[in-house]
Amino acid sequence: MAKEKKGVRLEHISKIYQDPKTKKNFYAVKDTSLDIEPGSFVTLLGPSGCGKTTTLRMIAGFESPDEGEIYLGGEPINALTPNKRDTAMVFQSYALLPHYNIFDNVAYGLKLRKMDKETIKTKVTNILKLVGLEGMEARMTNQLSGGQQQRVALARALVLEPGVLLFDEPLSNLDAKLRVSMRTEIRRIQQEAGITAVYVTHDQSEAMAISDKIIIMEKGIVAQMGSPQEIYYHPKSEFVADFIGEANFLKGPLKSKNGSDGVVDISGTKVDVKEISHFGIGDTCTLVLRPESAVLADAGQLPCRVILSCFMGSYQNYHVMVGDNLVKITDFNPKNKKIYDVGDKAYVKFDPANVHVL
């Protein structure tokens, strides 16, 4: 549907803000380079204050970068005002124009492009059908539910057939269930329209569900980028591992090494690990163990003591102490398994292939 898919390229982008209290400058975004492929869905993910929204607003043109250049479809766009950029944004608060009805909201950008009435009507009708709001043209925005308002905001951006679609935490004002269905919908519509999308969120499950590529940001710097699987299975830092999904970190020195396999000492227990070729003997290794990758058993790699055991329905939630380390374990489908109680001694059992070493 889009006239032309455009890629977005950020070259060494920095944005400096002034702390209002201390009057000191600091980097909100620092030396960030990104290459977003035409037609792909890329998510900027990170905790609040990591610079993800600032990055998005720089692409939209609301903020100007202090260093570097932004390209849209190969053209530098730094000096363009937001209304001259081929971008369309879906705002966190939807930002629908409250004095217009749905039709006029969606038609607003088209009218500014001086299209004739018939074309506008066809385009608006088609796009409202795509987002599932046909027949609602005459409603006012305050007569819509949050999810419907969200769809109008999406339709309003899509109808402009922008080179890139920008999303600023668009689902954060919706309730949990709606959030899940809307994200699937956004993904479907993006695929159907074949449009480039940059999506900002702090919700890691949303990012995983929706993206071709996730960019994790921390304090203005890109911490890691890659497909959801890459990031989940091979996090490059504790921050990334902890931010995307839950993770237990077990630290210990590398005792022996055989090619890419090796043995790490965790609180006095020897544990087999894989993919440690870049470590030397004696180096401290951090084992990233996902709670769902381990179970409690009477025999296993790490002896432990249970300090919390809690039935959650689909899984049994355990907190156990391995030496001085707290390890969280989610044991799925617990119905016919042995349940350990607080104070019980047990072993943490896992497949070495499921442990990622930092």
Binding site: G61, F62, S64, K84, S93, L97, L112, R156
Partner: protein
């Protein structure tokens, strides 16, 4: 780490928008020429003499005993009026927010207070004060048989100003009290405090900065007030009237300028304290919204005395307003209380009433849309845009709030009678209707801007950003998004500007030429001559005009103001 690139990019984006750049340049020129320049010329006038720069003019005016007396008179009145208005305002606000009012009648009375400060022309209360309590007053002479009651002077001014200004305090205090979370007071009650103790230890400390704020706002209003001291002051001169007499009576332009500088200095100082210290403090303590409805006080030992007190005060005020049209209908004031329409007839037959109303009406009608639009543009720029001169625009348009009309009037005389900087440039402006319109605009701009700013602050920034993002330029965003969203504020700004203009006197009286007859100036003239019948007739018609304007506005907002539809969510 330097922000050079973003600064230069922002500048580029800014200049890519010629309409906004032009608007800002025009605005800055307007504010500089019609607010800053007249005030600057006063400073020049009072410091620069033939002998060079110095304090000689100030030394001269300080030697005048009437000027020294005027300073202390003004401050005394301002202090008393400020305190009295703040307390009475608090009383009414407290009763409305905290006490269960049993009667419809009381609720109706409270509604009247909304309207009073808006529709009432200045010096209406002075007129009725004289009619009721003067030497030939209905109450003093005919009910109490006091033949030598003197309402002119300190007490006259103080009472009239208090009654004129306390509704403003009432509205300020009401807003604050409504923002107090009732659970704070309930917690104190729960811990064993009596109602009085709760008021003294919880409520009062919370609103104390607000009370101080109300005091200062009234104080500024009082010392800037020209019309009331003019009519009811008698020989008790305040700064505003002294300055007026200095220029119209003694033709001492330098002296008047220096006096104006003194008056401006006082109001500016108060204004700065009020604006930058108390206002911030009074809202900071009460930023939260009340979580629940407050349980109203039903205890009769509280409600009965408070209700009676408020009713008496309110009835007194209402009576003061009612007696204006009656004053216009008595045959001969003080002797013959038969009703007649001869004063009303004379307004039109003998005293060119039609021309006066037409001139006032037309000039105000020209000024009000310009004022309303200008104040909305200023608010938009201040709240929604980032640019270098923003601080200047905001500061100067707020500064106008602290400038007494008399000071502005003198500034215009000195600044424009011989052209800008006495070069003859724009000299043609002086003495025309245009300069009156400009004065109207400058005098109403701060109120409009303030209401525009608060209306715009409630609108999510991203609504305008979204329009901008979809391809609209600044002008389109302003016309299709901002203005429709603050329609109510714009409409009320329109009417407020109209009412303020048509009832304005302090600056106007110094600038009006015989070519234009203005109602307020007429009222002032007849009241000074003692022709109270004619003055009241003019004033009654003026009240009808302003009241209709406000009614019309409410109707228009009710049926065409879209804001209410979407603001509730």
């Amino acid at each position: 780490m330097a922000k050079n690139q973003s600064a230069s990019l922002d500048r580029k984006k800014f200049f890519a928008d010629p309409i906004m750049v032009t608007t800002i340049v025009v605005l800055i020129a307007f504010l500089t020429l019609f607010i800053l320049y007249p005030l600057a010329i006063l400073l020049v006038d009072s410091f620069v003499t033939d002998q060079g720069i110095g304090l000689s003019v100030f030394r001269r005016i300080m030697k005048m005993s009437n000027f020294r007396r005027a300073i202390s008179n003004t401050l005394k009145v301002g202090f008393l009026v400020g305190i009295a208005s703040a307390l009475i305002g608090l009383l009414f606000a407290y009763v409305e927010v905290y006490v269960k009012l049993k009667t419809r009648f009381m609720e109706g009375l409270f509604k009247v207070f909304y309207m009073l400060p808006i529709v009432s022309p200045p010096f209406v209360l002075s007129l009725s004060m004289i009619i009721l309590f003067g030497k030939a007053g209905i109450i003093t002479r005919f009910l109490l048989h006091i033949y030598d009651n003197n309402v002119y002077g300190f007490w006259g001014i103080a009472i009239v100003q208090t009654l004129t200004f306390f509704p403003v305090c009432y509205m300020m205090m009401r807003g604050l009290l409504k923002n107090i979370d009732p659970s704070l007071e309930e917690a104190a009650r729960d811990m064993g405090a009596t109602r009085w103790k709760v008021f003294m230890t919880v409520t009062l400390p919370l609103i104390l900065p607000g009370l101080g704020n109300a005091f200062l706002v009234t104080f500024i209003e009082s010392i800037a007030d020209f019309a009331n001291p003019m009519i009811i002051g008698g020989s008790y001169d305040t700064l505003a009237t002294t300055i007026y007499l200095q220029i119209t009576g003694a033709y001492d332009k330098e002296g008047a300028s220096a006096m104006a500088v003194v008056l401006l200095g006082i109001t500016l100082l108060m204004f700065i304290v009020q604006k930058y210290y108390l206002e911030a403090k009074s809202t900071a303590t009460l930023s939260g919204k009340a979580s629940r409805q407050r349980m109203l006080i039903e205890d009769r030992s509280v409600t009965v005395p408070l209700t009676i007190l408020c009713s008496l005060l309110a009835l007194f005020v209402v009576m003061m307003y009612i007696c204006v049209p009656f004053g216009a209908m008595f045959k001969t004031w003080g002797y013959d209380f038969h009703l007649t329409t001869k004063w009303f007839q004379q307004v039109f037959t003998k005293y060119k009433g039609f021309k006066a109303f037409k001139d006032s009406f037309v000039l105000s009608l020209i000024a009000s849309p310009i004022t309303a639009l200008l104040s909305m543009i200023i608010s938009y720029l201040v709240v929604k845009r980032k640019f270098k001169a923003k601080g200047f625009i905001e500061a100067v348009s707020m500064l106008a709030m602290a400038v007494p009309g008399t000071v502005l009037g003198i500034g215009y005389i000195r600044g424009f009678s011989a052209g800008v900087f006495r070069t003859g440039f724009l000299q043609g402006l002086y003495g025309t209707g245009a300069i009156l319109v400009i004065v109207f605009i400058v005098r109403s701009l701060p109120t409009g801007t303030r209401s525009g700013i608060s209306a715009l602050r409630q609108i999510d920034k991203s609504i305008e950003e979204s329009a901008y993002d979809m391809g609209a330029d600044s002008l389109t965003v302003f016309m299709t998004v901002t203005l429709p969203l603050i329609k109510d504020s714009f409409l009320s700004g329109l009417v407020t500007a109209f009412v303020r203009s048509i009832t304005a006197i302090s600056a106007i009286i110094l600038l009006v030429t015989p070519q234009y007859l203005l109602i307020t100036v007429q009222i002032n003239e007849f009241a000074e001559k003692g022709a109270y019948g004619i003055a009241c007739a003019f004033a009654s018609i003026l009240i009808i005009i302003t009241y209709s304007a406000v009614l019309l506005m409410n109707l228009v907002i009710k049926y065409f103001g879209t804001s209410r539809n979407y603001r509730e969510e």
